[in-house]
Symmetry: C2
Subunit: 359 residues, 2 copies
């Protein structure tokens, strides 16, 4: 693959006008007669043997900065499962890495920071979000250009971790079940927290903008841990920074999906952070979400990943129900309620996509 | 301590008529002028140096079957923090162990079963819940008798894991973040699941009943993972079995607390499982819970454990708010929204109890 990526033609308007993108934008009525749209969070990843082969010998964060490899991995599930979009292969730690933070993904553990953020001095020492950072995003732009070219008429969804989740890793230094230090910092030192969260919002916003400018047709902001917060805490200490990140792409006219696990108690707040589309986990009934969110909001989700390990009968029954319920939304894109578990049988996903497309 | 425990006098009526127990029973109006009642989930445990010393060289499950040690550990936080109740020191795996299941608690990992439940044959092979099991509960009865004697006028809250959480461990074989196998079993083989869950309900119900008959003044059923379920799944596959467990103590006239993390999306169902008192995690605002639950229901909770690591100012402000909001419930007992983290400074808890008692 020796294409000079930066000279590739711009993304096809077919991708931006696809049924999936229209649905994410809340324009589902325009494509009501088309088959349901579906993709899966973490569809590109360890459940696929071709992924494990492609990644062999390359660390996670290295992989994310190799444009040809990112393209190959992003395309694998599109080719195999016939899903309606690619999700840009990346990791929530990539913007940190590109900003010069010393972070690695330890297999079996997850993200580990050499210097966790514990003090004002640590926050003072964060690198500026400037032209140097924007230049460092070039491998991301290259990967997006190449991927959107290969996807042709199918859209690419841009990927980014949200400020709270990313900042949690920075404060805790490694995966944490409870994020106690992070939640303690918010309440004990709200101004320090705000500076950290704004910094993450800036690197995240630039990261998203680079993807959209290079050809992504939508973006998803993943706030994996937002559900651990009470709504009042979320609104006071998190929402403004998720909004700041999404504001970086607001003028680019692409749907903005916002997803967090266990956020059923504060769906309106998740929407108010600047989403066109609210991602639902398996615990939030689609009718409840439609009723809670303002008219015109699209929803995405929310098949329980556990059903990938259940009987086909149970799985298809739930998928059919989700498609049916989704038809009453301004727009609905089928997805899981969380990422594809690594131990998933890929054939189960392929068959599920075919079933959903027949509905 | 060589008291012949089985000959101890019955539990004092003072404990059963304490403000805490009345509040748990929804009779808060009778004790409105008394100081707020408070205890902490996992108050007996690793946050206390005297606990670490007492437990030295004894495995978790062994400890739970040594009546004098259980009494000492249960009393430690009552002595130190002046909380208004003891929580019976035990582990959700103890009933399994007493029923003859090969289970151990691996330090740093958690409960591990030698033979996870994976098939009909595994379920067929579960031991009966009979007189042999009831006789095996004798160390529990002994520990409760001794503890309630030592607690004197303060109540002891009985402890038990709920069928879903315990059965999850049995199916997964070890701690699991997503409980995928368990949720898959429920939907793929609902009848097998029901047999397993009913078996756990029976050992749990007997375990609770033994504690109340020996002197506990209330019980708490911990369904740690229930919040991972959609409400429809909970109602179909879990609620009947939690109710079956709580039914074992329904005629004994003690308050029944039911708690799960992240259950804000299905509080009514948690109540309908047979609770007099719904335990709230830090994400569920007390006013929302009061509005959602039937009149007369008591609530317990829900200070964010992260505040134990924040400033005293932030912690006390939240505690005062929780006490204030709780006054509008039929009964309210202050607690954390989850267990005491092991790294908590014990003095923070002691000071917090004093502050709450002054409100």
């Amino acid at each position: 693959m020796s294409t000079p990526h930066s000279e590739l033609p711009p993304v096809s308007s077919a991708a931006r006008e696809s049924a999936l993108v229209k649905r994410l934008a809340g324009r589902g009525a325009e494509v009501a007669s088309e088959p349901p749209s579906v993709w899966f969070m973490r569809q590109a990843g360890r459940s696929l043997p071709e992924y494990r082969k492609a990644r062999e010998g390359t660390s996670m964060l290295e992989s994310c900065l190799m444009p040809e490899l990112v393209t190959e991995i992003t395309l694998q599930p599109v080719r195999r499962h016939k899903v309606d979009a690619g999700i840009f292969f990346s990791d929530i730690m990539v913007p940190l890495k590109l900003a010069g933070i010393d972070v690695s993904i330890e297999p079996g553990t997850g993200p580990v920071l050499t210097h966790p953020i514990r003090s004002k001095a640590d926050i003072d020492a964060l690198p500026p979000v400037d032209d140097v950072y924007r230049a460092a995003l070039e491998p991301i732009r290259e990967a997006v250009r190449l991927t959107t070219h290969e996807l042709d008429k199918k859209p690419l969804i841009g990927f980014c971790g949200a400020p709270f989740t990313v900042a949690s890793y920075m404060v805790e230094g490694r995966p944490s079940r409870d994020h106690l230090r992070t939640r303690a910092l918010m309440t004990a030192e709200p101004e320090l927290w705000a500076r950290l969260a704004q910094w993450v919002a800036d690197i995240s916003g630039e990261f998203l903008r680079a993807q959209v400018e290079a050809g992504a047709s939508a973006v998803q902001l993943f706030d994996s841990w937002a559900g651990s917060l009470a709504e009042a805490t979320y609104r006071a200490h998190v929402l403004p920074f998720s909004r700041a990140a999404l504001d970086y792409v607001r003028d680019l006219d692409v749907p903005r999906i916002h997803f967090g696990v266990g956020t059923g108690h504060m769906l309106s707040a998740i929407h108010e952070a600047g989403a066109t589309t609210v991602g639902l986990d398996h615990r939030t009934p689609i009718p409840t979400a439609i009723e809670t969110l303002p008219a015109g909001t699209a929803v995405q989700g929310n098949l329980d990943p556990a059903l990938l390990f259940s009987s086909e009968e149970a799985r298809f029954a739930e998928a059919a129900r989700i498609v049916r319920e989704g038809r009453t939304a301004a727009g609905h894109v089928v997805n899981l309620g969380h990422g594809v578990p690594p131990e998933t049988d890929p054939q189960v996903l392929t068959d599920l996509v075919a079933f959903i497309h027949e509905q």
